[in-house]
């Protein structure tokens, strides 16, 4: 009976897992949409990427890690530092929304699996967090075009992971279709002369 109860609790663990999100071989992107040739469009510098960490309840903090990386990309550096110090562990959409509201953060999210939300987030160069692995993990979506999607996994922030657009959407929709992003000013594109 004790084993059964433990198994049941584990089955319904919150989003915020640890473990490498890499199930398939990485693929090369095709030279499609980009801003100033920069791919992925949301090209978060290495030192600004937040790695996942274990909270005081021994849960992963992937949702917070994604939000912190996006805060940094959107020039909310102090907010990112403060968020890192304050919050940890797994999150539900509504519990994260409560925290964002409490902190006065401007944000948008969907739990409807609406692909246009992802397209909007990448088109406006903000990026967003999306659920994967059946809703047990969140990664940052940093590129989405007609063929390819690019993910930044907080369990391994040293490299981007490119997957096909269809594969990404299928994975996301099978993972409760939750996506969330702050709405501030994204970093400027790399400059090119006239």
């Amino acid at each position: 009976m004790k084993r059964l109860s433990i198994a049941l609790v584990l089955c319904f663990s919150l989003v915020g897992c640890e473990g490498d999100f890499s199930q398939s071989e990485p693929v090369q992107p095709s030279p499609l949409s980009s801003v100033n040739g920069e791919r992925p469009i949301v090209n978060i510098p290495m030192v600004m990427r937040q790695s996942n960490w274990a909270g005081n309840q021994r849960e992963g903090s992937c949702v917070h890690a994604v939000m912190i990386s996006l805060f940094r990309w959107q020039n909310r550096l102090h907010r990112a530092d403060e968020w890192r110090r304050t919050y940890a562990n797994g999150e539900w959409p509504e519990s994260l929304a409560t925290k964002l509201d409490r902190e006065g953060v401007r944000y948008a999210y969907t739990t409807k699996g609406n692909v246009s939300f992802l397209e909007w987030a990448v088109r406006t160069r903000r990026g967003c967090g999306i659920t994967v692995k059946g809703g047990a993990h969140m990664v940052a979506l940093v590129h989405l075009d007609d063929k390819w999607a690019c993910l930044l996994d907080n369990n391994n922030v040293s490299k981007y992971k490119w997957v096909s657009r269809e594969s990404l959407i299928a994975e996301w929709k099978a993972s409760y279709g939750w996506a969330v992003t702050p709405i501030y000013t994204p970093a400027a594109p790399l400059p090119i002369s006239q």
């Binding site: 049941l8 600004m48 550096l77 948008a108 594109p189």
Partner: protein, 225 residues
Amino acid sequence: MRRLMLFLCVVCVFFFTSISYADRANGVLSMDRVVNLPNDQGKWYISIVGDVRNAQYQTILKWFSQDPALRKLKNQVHFCSVTSSSAIYKARYAANVKGLPTVRLQNSQGVVIYEAAGKNLPFTAQGLYGAIANNAAGVQQQPIFPWRQNRKRLCPSPSPSPSPVIPDLDPAPQPIDDGSDPVFEPVLEPESESSLPPVWLMLVTFVSTVGAGAVTKWRETYAEK
């Protein structure tokens, strides 16, 4: 008794987690936080890059908060204040700025419309706005006609404070809108550069010329009779 308690605990866990998932599956918790997402992908970017301790950098930031034209421009673009000690500077600016502080205007595709750094920066807010607007006008191909200018006297203002206030918070968020290319106010030009004579002189010349012509013609027509 102990087994009964354990069983009840397991049932409780199963019950509440099932409710949570059922709610999600049934859409009770499904909602969009923002219905009208800003379609601001066409917005231009202004980057103010500099050392946070540099007085000129702080002055330029202040201009974008206090000067009406620059403040309006700031609200029409993605405004990025970047300090030279930040990671974003090292990753995306250090290799391509010519000096500090730098003011850079880019369109949504990253094309640099205006850029000035250090001593090449105008030393007044009006001058900076004019430089930005003139460069943007060339790109946008929107001629600025002198007779549409809202002329007013430019008054000298006190010099900037030598002791800048170093901000310790994130900049205030910008308004959410669907802005694209910024709309620039007509640039004020000094009176001395105007190539047109005063309006009253033009009117007097016109009236006297017409009058003289009329008199001459009248004499030609009726004087012989």
